[in-house]
């Protein structure tokens, strides 16, 4: 190998090493300090003694609930948008504008979504600060992920399937519903999971739209305020009267959040590969 070639290889390998090293260091640190804290009690109990002891159950519950609500909103809207863009409006100027808007949506800082959510959902639509407003706000943030991955999945469906459907006398909607969407399902699922992974850890969008510092009760309707894991970590590290005392809780919460997103991703990957294998195709 020539010398220059060796230099290139060295630097690319170094870059990889830095990334992987950092990643492993972070994960190692969180796991090492968090694993001692996590217990059934930590998961299932509310905080005690001014949030310096006890568990994180309300925060976990709030995060899961708002993410579920977000999915209910973002998957149909995202999928239908992608279906319109790819199946009905492809090539039209209107679609180009929509696509541009969606791409821009993806690059807006999340705190701006939070402010928008406050202005639009909480105040203008009078949904109040609660689970629903937060779920919708986070949904807007993750919408591009669902739209883009669904559109990719739709594009990957060979046109010959559509032609065969039309030639048999199927209507456009029948072709989409019976041929295109089933074929695109793994891709759609990927988008949904990506949006969960992204949305679950977001704090900025829920800051003004529904999250609470501490609640002695669990939310009982979608308009109630809620506690949230990511926010819980944030206040534990910055707002607690004794940050040192809450350190185990910080580590524990972070580890739980990580496990949650990781395991969701893994489940998603498993479902997807199983569908790819089991599905006829």
């Amino acid at each position: 190998m020539r010398f220059r070639e060796k230099v290139y290889v060295f630097f690319t390998a170094l870059a990889v090493l830095i990334i992987v090293g950092l990643l492993f260091y972070i994960i190692f640190d969180i796991v090492k300090n968090g694993i001692r804290v996590i217990s059934w009690e930590f998961i299932s109990q509310p905080p005690r003694e001014g949030m310096t002891k006890g568990g994180i159950f309300p925060a976990l519950y709030g995060t899961l609930l708002r993410t579920l609500l977000m999915l209910i909103f973002v998957v149909p809207v995202g999928v239908f948008t992608a279906v319109y863009l790819n199946e009905y409006g492809s090539g039209k100027n209107f679609s180009k504008w929509i696509r541009l808007a969606i791409n821009n949506l993806a690059s807006i800082p999340s705190i701006v979504f939070g402010l928008f959510g406050l202005g639009f959902f909480v105040l203008f639509l009078r949904l109040g600060a609660g689970l629903l407003s937060s779920a919708l706000t986070v949904g807007l943030l993750t919408l591009p992920l669902v739209v883009v991955s669904t559109e990719e999945a739709l594009k990957a469906v060979p046109n010959s399937y559509r032609e065969a459907g039309f030639a048999l006398g199927a209507t456009k909607w029948q072709v989409i519903r019976m041929i295109v969407l089933p074929q695109a399902l793994p891709g759609i699922l990927t988008g949904a999971i990506l949006s969960v992974g992204r949305g679950m850890g977001e704090v900025a969008p829920i800051l003004f739209t529904g999250v609470a510092y501490y609640l002695p009760y669990l939310p009982s309707s979608v308009f109630d305020q809620f506690m949230d894991l990511g926010y819980h970590i944030y206040i534990m590290t910055t707002q607690s009267f004794n940050v040192e005392l809450t350190k185990p809780i910080q580590y524990g919460s972070t580890l739980v959040l990580l496990i949650l997103t990781f395991s969701l991703n893994i489940i998603a990957i498993l479902i997807r590969s199983k569908m790819r294998r089991g599905r006829l195709g």
């Binding site: 032609e163 459907g165 030639a167 048999l168 006398g169 029948q174």
Partner: protein
């Protein structure tokens, strides 16, 4: 000569400003096989896709003239495309079964018509597969993926899928060009059987195939502006033994194409 099933009158097709087919007029007799032959790019496929209005799936295609199916112009504004395409089925160049089971592929045309009766569907699926000479090969794996079949089997499955919706006309766009010689012969045998009941129009650039299976042959060629036009049309035996036009003779004797 049989009754006329499809009558094409002064058909012009444009892709944007480009004239792809120029002034085609020809009559297709029912319950027979009509072959469209000619070199690549002469508008054979475009012509075929004009007969069930599949060209309209592409943007910027404009069609002028008439295509009469049983005397009714299919380009009238009140024509229902769904009904038309059920009457005029199509088999494509590459086998394109859906990524579903063998059974569901054939049942698809019935399901989109809203047929729910399970026994009726099973009956039609079996009948269609039998007619497409595929039943014996697949009867024990109806619920396996259609994509596990060989290319020739897939193409016969696509034919069965078309038969299930009980068409009157079957359009075939080079149905054997992606198949090996043995699978090709099976498709040709099948076509001979099917013409007892259906009107078949086949596009092929395989002249031996046209000579083997078809009753009538239309020879297309492009003019100096690359627009496809009909050079000669008549009984297959006459076209191949005593063509009237020197260009037809040139093509079938392999001088160009």
């Amino acid at each position: 000569m049989n009754n006329i099933k499809i009558s094409v009158k002064n058909l012009n097709i444009y892709y944007g400003n480009f004239l792809a087919l120029k002034d085609i007029t020809l009559d297709i007799p029912e319950k027979s096989i009509t072959a469209i032959i000619g070199p690549s790019g002469c508008g054979k496929s475009t012509f075929l896709r004009a007969l069930n209005r599949m060209n309209e799936l592409l943007p910027n295609v404009r069609t002028e003239g008439k295509v009469l199916l049983d005397g009714q112009n299919i380009y009238e504004p009140n024509i229902d495309l769904v009904t038309l395409r059920r009457k005029v089925g199509m088999v494509f160049q590459r086998p394109n079964p859906f990524p579903k089971s063998i059974f569901e592929n054939v049942a698809f045309g019935l399901r989109i018509q809203g047929i729910k009766d399970k026994e009726q569907i099973e009956e039609i699926v079996e009948l269609s597969l039998r007619r497409a000479a595929l039943w014996d090969e697949v009867k024990n794996k109806l619920h396996k993926s259609a994509l596990e079949l060989s290319g020739g089997q897939q193409q016969r499955l696509c034919i069965a899928r078309v038969l299930a919706v009980q068409p009157e006309v079957i359009l075939m766009d080079e149905p054997a060009s992606a198949l090996d010689p043995i699978a090709t012969l099976r498709i040709e045998d099948l076509m001979r059987e099917l013409k007892e009941e259906y009107t078949i129009v086949i596009v092929t650039h395989n002249m031996q195939q046209a000579a083997r299976v078809s009753d009538f042959t239309a020879f297309f060629l492009t003019d100096e502006n690359r627009a496809g036009m009909l050079i000669e049309y008549g009984n297959t035996s006459e076209i191949f033994t005593m063509p009237r036009d020197p260009r037809t003779e040139g093509y079938i004797t392999g001088r160009y194409g």
